[in-house]
Structures are given as C-alpha cells and as structure tokens.
Amino acid sequence: MARTVIVCAILIVLHYTLRPLLAWRASVDFLIVALLLGAVRMRPGMGALYGFALGLLAGSLDVGGFGAAALGMSLIGFGASWLKAVFFADNLALNGFFLFIAKWLFDLIFLLVGHRAHGAELAMQLFVWSPLSAAVTAVAGVIALSILRPLMEMRTA
C-alpha cells in the first residue's frame, strides 16, 4: 500500500510540475492516472473518497471548478474500484483504454456540472480537446504504468 501511495504521490507531483512545463493544449492529466492506480486497490467507497480528495486538490486551484472536479473524480474513483477486476488484468492496452474513458468521462462531468463552456465551445471541448487530452493521458498512463510496474509488483511478490 505504501508503494502505491509513493507512486500516486509521484504522479500527483508530475501533474503539478511536468504538465505546466509542457503546457500542451491537450495536456496529460496525471491526477486521473493516480486516481485509477490508487482506486483499483481500494474498496469502491474508499475509491470514491480518494477521488473526492483528489478533486478537492485539483479544484482548490481553480475556484470555478471547485466541486465539479470533486464530483467527477468521486464517480471515476468509485467506478474504477468497482471495475477493479478489469484493471487487475495485466493488459496495458486495456488499462490505456480505461484511462482514456476515465479522462473523457471526467471532462464530461467537469464541463457539464461546472458550466465551464456552452454551445459550440462545449462541443469543441468535448469532442475535440477532451478526446485528445484523454488519448495523451492514456499514453502517458501506460508509459507510467510500464515504468512503475516493477515498483508495484514488489508488493505482490
């Protein structure tokens, strides 16, 4: 569990260091990767709570989205923990797919609940930038999982 915490902490730190450094228009969401990585090792309720905490963390820096991020991450954390059997399958492509879906769902909830965009801008955000960001997040998550796998597998051994 401690190793998972370390890995999640690394991912959270990457979210606040690497992401601003890259400053891509479709950016990597390391918080979603950290959420899925931690939530699959918890009960669904704890996953929801973990997501809520991460959402508060993210929302505190963006007052306009305060609450929406917490709601989105709570639901994603709960869902990931509930579907943890799938995540336990040692398939990077499947993990990447779930990362993509998780990020897109999060953006959907965040944008709709937080009233961040309207009309064409919302459609553009949901169907262009969010999928792109989700894809980049999935790729980055798969790479991070591949790199951090030895650290994570030591627990099971």
Partner: protein
C-alpha cells in the same frame, strides 16, 4: 459473510453518496462561499503543490523567453551579416561609380557571375552580363576600381566570358610607377600554394633596375590590349630564376577574384585614347601631365597664331583701305564715309581704276 459484504456495499454506496452530495453542495455554493474553503486548502495541503506548479511555470517562461531571445539574437545576427554584405557591396558600387565618373566615357558596366563549380580550385574565368550588343569585343580589357581584372575571351550578344589574370593565357605589358622598369605580367604558376594561388609574376625586368617590395605596378600600354596606367598590383619580392639579364618579381594583384562583383569593360576607342590618371600612377601622372601641358601649349600656340593672323589681316586691310582712300583723294573722287569696322567692304579692281574723263582732264 453475506451480511458483511452487503454492509460493505452499503458503506461504499454511502460514501459515494456522501462525496456526491458534498461535491454538489460545493458546486451550488456561491463563489464567495467557496473561496474560503479553496483558499484554506491552497494555504495548507496544496501549498507545496502550488509552489511546485509556480516553479514549473517559471521554468517554462524562462525557456520560452530564452527561445525568444535566441530567435531575436539570430535575427539580429542575420541582419548584421546582411548589413555587412550590403555595406561591402555599397562600397564596391561607390568605387565603381567613382571609376566610371573618372573614366567618363568608353566603357560598359557589367555584373560578374562567378562559376559555381566546386572542383575549380583556382578561379580563372568569369561570366559577364554584357555582350557584343553593348559593344564588348574580344580582348576588351576588364577593369575594377582596384585595378586590372582580365580581358574578354568570348563575346556573345548578351553576355561574355572573361579570363582573369590567373588564367594561363593572360599576359600584359607592365611598368613601375616611375616608368623606369618594364616587363611582362604573367600568372604566377610555379610552386602554387594555397596562399599565393592568385599571385602574378613580372618577368623580363632589366637587371639594372631593382624594384623594392611594395612598389606599384601598372600596365604599360604596350601591345594594344590594355591602356597605359591601370593598376596591376604591388611587388612582393624578387623571384630567383635562371635568367641572367632579366629579373622576375612576384606581384600581389590589387584585385581579389572572389570579390569581383561588378566590373567595367573598356571599349577599343578608350584603349586607343588611354585612360589617363584614373588609377593614379606616378608615371601616369607625369605622362598625363606632359600630355596636358603639350595640349595646353598647342592650344596657346594655335590661339596666338590665330590672333597674329587676324591682326595681320586687319593691318593689311587698313593699309589697303588707306591706300585706296589716298588714291581716290588724289584723283578727286568722292569718298563716301564708310564704316571702317565693316570688313566685308573690300575694294574691287574697277574702283582702283580712275574714270576715263577725269583722267583726260589731267595735265
């Protein structure tokens, strides 16, 4: 066991519901109500992450700024290089305009196009953008403001090819600035190294004449290709040869082939008439001064002769008129008051002959 699982599920759902409700409450809260919570988090739990984010953004800004600075520096460097090239070209054009204004007539300006062949170590020919339609002919001298460049080898209607002084076929009669030493200029071929690839040799200089290093060499005007007084270069040193009665000197040319961009091609009439003191040699100075003095003397003599002839004619005319008047007066003829300044009123043969009746009255 089933009860525990059911309880666990209920707890999970309860936690989810609690999180959702809390989230929705925060969503519906007004900004001024949400801000204290967010601010509290930023100051406590999130503070290290905020610091990390600020540092990362600072790095990012520094990186972008350095890229911008680099771009600015690159663009300024490029502009500087362009300005340098333009200044150099401008200087060359100014010199060429100066040369053109000194020559005044008898030349065709042309642009020099260098060969792009990389295999050619020594540049021996250049293509010029003026041809036979502009009056360029074979063997026309090609000159630059610094001095001699070469001569035309082939003249097509719109372009021509010139051989440079580095070409093996190039040679020109040369002399020192004081006109004491004469010789023939050839390209320096023996033992050509990278450093002296564009040097010249002045061969056939009499042994009794010694040229010091740095002495200026000009075309001598012998041979009919190059007019007298075009700068060739400066003496570097004497070369050791097997010749006994003559000396050979190494000459550094005044013109660098790689810097030739624009040249002037002298036409045949200009070659015949000479270029005078355009390149400023001492012997050329003396020569042109002598010519000018002779020309001035000639013109003074011509004017004096003309004045003398005019005065003689005037004297003869007045004597003739006075004689006629006195003859008429002695014969008692009527003398009209003629305008003495009218030179066209010349006496005729008949007027000199006295009338027959008056002659009879004479005793």
């Amino acid at each position: 066991m089933a009860n525990a699982a059911r309880l666990g599920n209920r707890v999970d759902v309860g936690l989810l519901a609690g999180c959702v409700v809390l989230s929705l409450i925060m969503v519906v809260l007004k900004d001024e109500d949400r801000e204290p919570i967010a601010s509290g988090l930023r100051r406590s739990l999130v503070a290290p992450l905020v610091g990390l984010q600020r540092g990362a953004e600072r790095w990012r800004n520094a990186w972008v700024s350095s890229e911008q600075y680099q771009t600015t520096i690159d663009s300024l460097s490029l502009r500087g290089a362009n300005a340098q090239a333009m200044r150099s070209e401008n200087d060359q054009l100014r010199k060429l305009v100066g040369l053109g204004s000194r020559l005044e007539w008898g030349f065709v300006p042309a642009e020099a196009l260098h060969s792009t062949a990389q295999s050619e170590e020594l540049v021996t020919t250049i293509t010029l953008t003026a041809g036979s339609t502009a009056g360029v002919k074979r063997y026309s001298p090609v000159v630059a403001p610094e001095g001699i460049v070469g001569m035309i080898q082939t003249a097509d209607p719109s372009m021509s090819i010139a051989i440079l002084y580095t070409h093996p076929d190039f040679h020109a009669s040369a002399m020192s600035a004081d006109g004491a030493a004469f010789g023939i200029i050839y390209p320096h071929s023996a033992g050509v190294t990278r450093g002296d690839a564009y040097m010249l040799e002045m061969r056939g200089v009499p042994t009794k004449v010694t040229l010091k290093p740095g002495a200026a060499i000009y075309t001598a005007g012998l041979g009919g290709v190059f007019p007298r007084g075009i700068t060739i270069g400066n003496v570097v040193q004497e070369l050791k040869t097997s010749e006994v009665w003559t000396r050979t000197y190494l000459v550094r040319p005044a013109v660098t082939p790689s810097r030739i961009n624009t040249v002037l091609i002298l036409n045949a009439q200009r070659v015949t008439q000479g270029t005078g003191n355009v390149w400023g040699g001492a012997a050329v100075n003396a020569d042109s001064a002598t010519r000018r003095i002779a020309a001035a003397g000639d013109s003074i003599a011509r004017q004096a002769a003309a004045l003398e002839a005019q005065a003689r004619a005037a004297v003869l005319d007045s004597v003739r008129r006075a004689t006629i008047d006195s003859v008429r007066r002695s014969l008692g003829a009527f003398i009209p008051q003629t305008d003495t300044s009218r030179a066209t009123a010349r006496p005729t043969r008949d007027s000199l002959r006295p009338p027959p009746d008056t002659a009879k009255k004479r005793p």
